[in-house]
Symmetry: C2
Subunit: 187 residues, 2 copies
Amino acid sequence: MALRHAVLAALLDGEYSGYQLAKAFDVSLSNFWYAVPQQLYAELAKLEREGLIAGRQVIQHDRPNKRLFTVTDAGLAELAAFTATPSKPSSIREDLLVMVQAVDRLDPTPVIAQLEERAVAAAAKVEIFDRMLRRLRGELDEETFLREGDRIGPYLTCLRGRRFEQENREWCEQVTALLRARAPLPG
Amino acid sequence: MALRHAVLAALLDGEYSGYQLAKAFDVSLSNFWYAVPQQLYAELAKLEREGLIAGRQVIQHDRPNKRLFTVTDAGLAELAAFTATPSKPSSIREDLLVMVQAVDRLDPTPVIAQLEERAVAAAAKVEIFDRMLRRLRGELDEETFLREGDRIGPYLTCLRGRRFEQENREWCEQVTALLRARAPLPG
DNA sequence: GTCCCATAGTCAGTGATATGACTACTCCTA
DNA sequence: TAGGAGTAGTCATATCACTGACTATGGGAC
């Protein structure tokens, strides 16, 4: 009961095909959930069988036909029930953290390399989030948008994603500097 | 190939039984990995079969006997190989974020309640991390410890966990205040 | 003309992760 | 003297998440 609600939440933004949804999970939702297309198609099929979403065929001539899905009333009810069930906090679950945990007993060189790569990747994600935030709030400034906008959910999760990546970056940079200072690399 | 390295990293701190490891995964490592005891026992058995850890029986009279495990040289090599394989970034994967993503189309009341609970839980975890950090660095101040301490890995991952929970708390509080202001609760 | 990319989706299989129900012994408290 | 909590560990099963290989078509680059 996990991916299912993420899919329902994503479909609140409008009609999506499985393919489009996969893209959405690659960008906008990727900050708190990721899934490969195969998972999404499977989940969409299941949700449709249970009547939580409804699909309609769209005939296309220049490219393959597709099926667009929307959330039904039953789907909305399912989401409402979901918000009522207590959610347990999850942990970060990062391989990179496991590596840092063990770094004292290993050669730090490859760990440092990974931390540097990750810092760059995190900085890039921060920029992506910034662009997405600007797009979501349109011409309004953040404060006004959050007070008066009519679809702030994605904006708020985006803000969380941005904070997370920013912290990630700072931490990676701090740890890199530290490990460098402790074990000066030859050369 | 995921839990396995977390277990190896945890065993670097010294000998542990499955039971003790389960406790460690409940507190110190829980900031970046969580596993229930059954998973740990299964993983330990597998690691022992592969020669990455070695177990020894400890006879106890006042309580059940136990098996303590240590990382072997092969285990260290496995960890070293692990640090050399590129780690892909993971996402947050929080049910609570899914709820916030969907909040525009639902009754915000239960979501607000969950955000408040989570803010409190996050604050509590920050304090736990602070205590753990103090314990890890002993009498040294942070800067000195990080420069000269001989086991900084756990300290660094702990710092990351602390930052994460602090961000979590601030975000939850911000979103709570916002949703409250937008939809004044009756009563 | 061929190759690659984007769109759109399916199938089979595996390993990772989680759930629930157990055993067994000791110490401490009510 | 029963019950609960803590220590120590096992078994079976379900579900999740992910990997890799596939089909099919149209459009553009070389």
